[in-house]
């Protein structure tokens, strides 16, 4: 896999995590109401735009990379999201939650590999 393909896949995964965090932040603001809710639509639009970047990069890379090499990144995306949510949203997971996310990742990898 070329350096460009690696770079694009990494950027796409960053866009996926960032997009979901923006969406979550937008909905949190909306739910909170009052002063905090101001600007939630802007955050939502940024989230949708970032998710669009992820989608286009993910599709763009597909013809240039073997599927078996690209799919593991789909498998690890739940872990990346949990890590991103821990860093930027201060969410915490207990051991059962981590085990659940880990098992889900392994399962997605197997389904993708098949």
């Amino acid at each position: 896999m070329s350096l460009i393909a690696w770079t694009l896949i990494i950027i796409s995964q960053i866009a996926l995590v960032a997009g979901q965090i923006f969406l979550k932040r937008a909905m949190s603001r909306r739910e909170h109401g009052g002063e905090i809710a101001r600007g939630w639509i802007t955050t939502l639009v940024i989230g949708i735009a970032t998710m669009t970047v992820w989608f286009l990069l993910w599709l763009g890379v597909m013809p240039h990379v073997e599927l078996s090499k690209q799919m593991p990144f789909e498998g690890i995306s739940p872990i990346l999201i949990v890590l991103g949510a821990a860093v930027f949203l201060h969410e915490r997971l207990n051991w059962q939650g981590w085990a659940g996310v880990g098992l889900t990742c392994v399962g997605v990898l197997l389904v993708s590999a098949s």
Binding site: L44, G84, H90, E91, G100, L103
Partner: protein
């Protein structure tokens, strides 16, 4: 008359996540009374909405596949490679509608659930797409895919169990 300048600062408290009530993500920064609760009724339960999101996304994938096959069998022009001829099929539009509806459910669930948990639960799509493809499209499910589906199910059950434990504590 002087202009009253106030220093602009973020209105979002740094350590607030108002959604711990429904999750295994531990927080103690916000009093329980301030935690948002969904409207009463099973339909408005965020976990039910996640389930709908998963079902609708899986349905969308299958409908788009049917739409693509349908248009491919009717059209061999260069446009067919750009994904535009698929728009001529009602199956494709049904798939697009299902995707949009699933996004609505996803945004609703994000109002009440932590992102990490909600995203992990949406992996249920990888259960329903192969099963739907097998049932409606006649796809084959090999042992590798079947074991992957079983592992995803056990992962989701573990997540559900951890949620139940936290809700018991609350």
């Amino acid at each position: 008359m002087g202009i009253n300048k106030t220093k602009r600062r973020s209105v979002l408290p740094r350590k607030v996540d108002a959604f711990a009530y429904y999750s295994p993500f531990m927080h103690d920064k916000l009093p329980a009374a301030a935690l948002p609760k969904p409207a009463p009724g099973l339909f408005w339960n965020p976990y039910v909405q996640i389930f709908f999101t998963v079902l609708l996304t899986a349905a969308a994938q299958i409908l788009l596949k049917v739409g693509a096959d349908h248009s491919a069998s009717n059209n061999n022009s260069a446009w067919s490679w750009m994904g535009l001829t698929e728009l001529a099929s009602w199956w494709t539009w049904a798939g697009i509608f299902a995707f949009v509806a699933s996004f609505g459910g996803w945004l609703y669930a994000l109002r009440f659930l932590p992102l990490g948990l909600a995203f992990a639960l949406t992996n249920g799509v990888h259960i329903f797409v192969p099963i739907g493809s097998w049932y409606f499209l006649g796809d084959h499910i090999g042992w590798l895919r079947a074991s992957g589906i079983l592992i995803i199910i056990s992962g989701i059950l573990l997540l559900a169990q951890s949620v139940a434990k936290v809700e018991e504590k609350v």
